[in-house]
């Protein structure tokens, strides 16, 4: 006679000891040494945090002149407020400020569209890749817009232009270099290895100096390319080499069976790469790619050495304004805060991309 198998009902897990006290005991005082470290740590924090909060917020002066600031004890945020246009746009003509602002709106709009996946992936890729053109056109002018010479670009705007255009342009170049490096063809492979290893073997500062000083030597004398464009070129070159190596890692991480399955279906090598290999490789390398974006955003501060006034450079310049002399600390703290906000947002953005990519995958 057959017996009927009855699956056992699901039971809740044993009631765990949760709660604040339990957490504190388990994480901060779980041994004598750790207890001691906790107490020392708390003592140090108690000495640092109150004066810092006092300076940053409680005693800080948010409105007024340089004179009111000098009489006060805290940070002089009135200085940042007074110079905010300089921080954000540098010497860019104020009456044309809508142009960089509109560029920023385009950029963040595209971020939101991407995060919400409001367009097809193929359309998104195209939109991101052509974004540098409207950015340069809006800020620089031409084709019906009043031309603003690149010597008048500066501040946070310049930092963002160099970093955003640098990343967007170096992604496709980096992908091509990575694909070239993994090709059978010895000539293409050798060329890609040379480019990647030469650029990676040199510090960014060197590349920037070469772009500003040496590049003009190779160009005909009547051809003049603005320093900003040369610096942008150097940054793209630098970033491409690093992205190529990141992407190459991703290409190696894709299961060999994927390419075999695509080829067995009759897809040629390029279609296999574009539809099957690259999407999976890029998904694998989202975390290191975001890392590269963050690093590049901060690396752009090196353009100061070739005379461009990026966000950090303008902060230094602003604190040497005769009227507001002596507020370097405020300038740099503000600068650091904005950099942190940007980098942290990028990092969170990367996390959300990773999470979205995990839907339906092992």
């Amino acid at each position: 006679m057959t017996m009927v198998f009855q699956p056992s009902p699901d039971m809740p897990p044993p009631a765990s000891q949760t709660g604040l006290l339990h957490w504190v005991r388990n994480n901060l005082f779980n041994s004598f040494a750790n207890g001691l470290l906790t107490i020392i740590g708390l003592a140090i924090l108690a000495n640092i945090i109150p004066p810092l909060v006092n300076w940053l917020l409680i005693d800080a002066i948010f409105q007024g002149t340089a004179e009111t600031c000098r009489q006060g004890q805290g940070a002089c945020w009135a200085f940042v407020d007074a110079q905010i246009k300089l921080f954000l746009l540098g010497p860019y003509p104020t009456e044309l400020a809508w142009r960089p602002i509109f560029s920023a709106v385009l950029l963040f709009g595209l971020f939101i569209i991407t995060a919400r996946h409001m367009l097809k992936t193929a359309h998104l890729v195209v939109a991101w890749l052509i974004l540098p053109l409207p950015i340069y056109w809006l800020i620089g002018g031409g084709l019906g817009l009043e031309v603003v010479d690149t010597s008048e670009w500066g501040g946070l705007m310049l930092t963002l232009v160099l970093a955003v255009v640098g990343i967007l342009a170096s992604l496709p170049i980096g992908v091509l270099l990575a694909l070239g490096r993994s090709m059978q063809n010895k000539v293409i492979k050798g060329f890609c290895i040379c480019v990647i290893e030469l650029v990676r073997g040199v510090p960014l500062v060197t590349i920037l100096f070469m772009a500003t000083i040496m590049l003009p030597l190779f160009l005909p004398t009547d051809v003049e390319i603005g320093i900003l464009y040369r610096v942008q070129f150097g940054i793209i070159l630098f970033s491409s080499a690093y992205i190529a190596e990141v992407v190459r890692g991703g290409l190696q991480g894709v299961d060999k069976g994927q390419g075999e399955a695509a080829v067995a279906l009759g897809l040629n090598r390029w279609k296999t790469t574009i539809f099957i290999i690259l999407p999976q490789a890029l998904k694998i390398v989202i975390p290191p790619l975001i890392g590269r974006c963050i690093a590049l955003l901060k690396d752009t501060s090196l353009v100061v050495v070739v005379g461009l006034l990026d966000f950090l450079g303008i902060a230094k310049a602003a604190s040497q304004d005769a009227e507001w002399l002596g507020f370097d600390a405020e300038a740099f703290v503000f600068c650091a805060f904005i950099y942190w906000v940007l980098c942290f947002s990028l990092s969170r953005y990367g996390r959300s991309l990773e999470k979205r990519g995990q839907v339906g995958h092992h």
Partner: protein, 258 residues
């Protein structure tokens, strides 16, 4: 009389889908396939078995050139396989393949997996490709999963999707490379059922498998390989009940002793 012979020869010629003549392959110095000779007629169902490392997977992977051979001739659909990439891509369109680990594309939905090749290789309009894909998904009993991703399906379901994906290219031959080896016991049957149905529809099939029950009920011919060579080939009844070579007898006694 001679005219009749010529007609017969022509018919034979036409009906030979795959022919391997004195085919050899090496991995470096290692001689993996030795003088393989094999003819497959249209509609034939062939099961290839043998111990691991005997070269059976490598052999069927040579048929669509996922592996290159170094000497001898391979002719598939009257096209000799050389390193002419264009000709090779043309042959691959008509040769479907299922893998041990399914190799579905994890970043695409089931439906997208199925319509990719018809759209980009056969240049089929998207709507037609979707109709075709849904037909085959229904045939492997999995139409309701079309919007899911491969990772959300069981192994057996994934392998059935992989079969449907190959069928969307209307292949003239199907190659199966151990299609049930990575599956849980309870899922093997659902995949074998689909394969058996395919065989009954007259599909030309080459199947590397350890499922001897499948070989007995479906195969027209069983091929036993060892050490990179075809040791013995026969129709299944003879092969299982009256194996000629001692190596075949040993193999069968090993796998059928439980």
């Amino acid at each position: 009389m001679s005219g009749q012979n010529a007609a017969l020869a022509a018919k034979n010629e036409q009906d030979t889908v795959i022919s391997l003549v004195d085919m050899n392959k090496w991995y470096g110095d290692f001689h993996v396939l030795k003088n393989i000779n094999l003819e497959v007629q249209r509609g034939e169902r062939i099961v290839i078995c043998g111990p691991s490392g005997s070269g059976k997977s490598t052999m069927i992977r040579c048929i669509n050139q996922l592996e290159e051979h170094q000497s001898g001739t391979i002719i598939v659909n009257n096209q000799e396989l050389t390193n002419n990439t264009k000709a090779l891509e043309k042959v691959r369109k008509d040769v479907g393949m299922c893998f041990q680990h399914f190799n579905l594309f994890p970043h695409m939905t089931i439906l997208e997996n199925l319509i990719l090749a018809p759209i980009w290789v056969r240049k089929m309009p998207r709507k037609d490709a979707i109709d075709l894909a849904m037909t085959y998904l229904k045939r492997v009993n999995i139409a309701e999963q079309s919007q899911k991703y491969p990772g959300q399906l069981s192994g057996g379901q994934q392998q059935r999707v992989a079969i449907a994906r190959s069928l969307c290219m209307s292949p003239k031959v199907m190659l199966f490379d151990e299609p049930t080896s990575a599956l849980d016991p309870e899922m093997i049957k659902e995949v074998l059922d689909v394969m058996e149905e395919l065989a009954n529809d007259g599909m030309t099939m080459l199947c590397v498998t350890h499922e001897m029950g499948f070989a007995k009920s479906v195969a027209d011919r069983v091929i036993f390989m060892d050490g990179g060579e075809i040791v013995e080939e026969n129709e299944p009844n003879e092969f299982f009940n009256n194996p000629q070579m001692d190596r075949t007898q040993l193999f069968l006694s090993q796998i059928l002793s439980h």
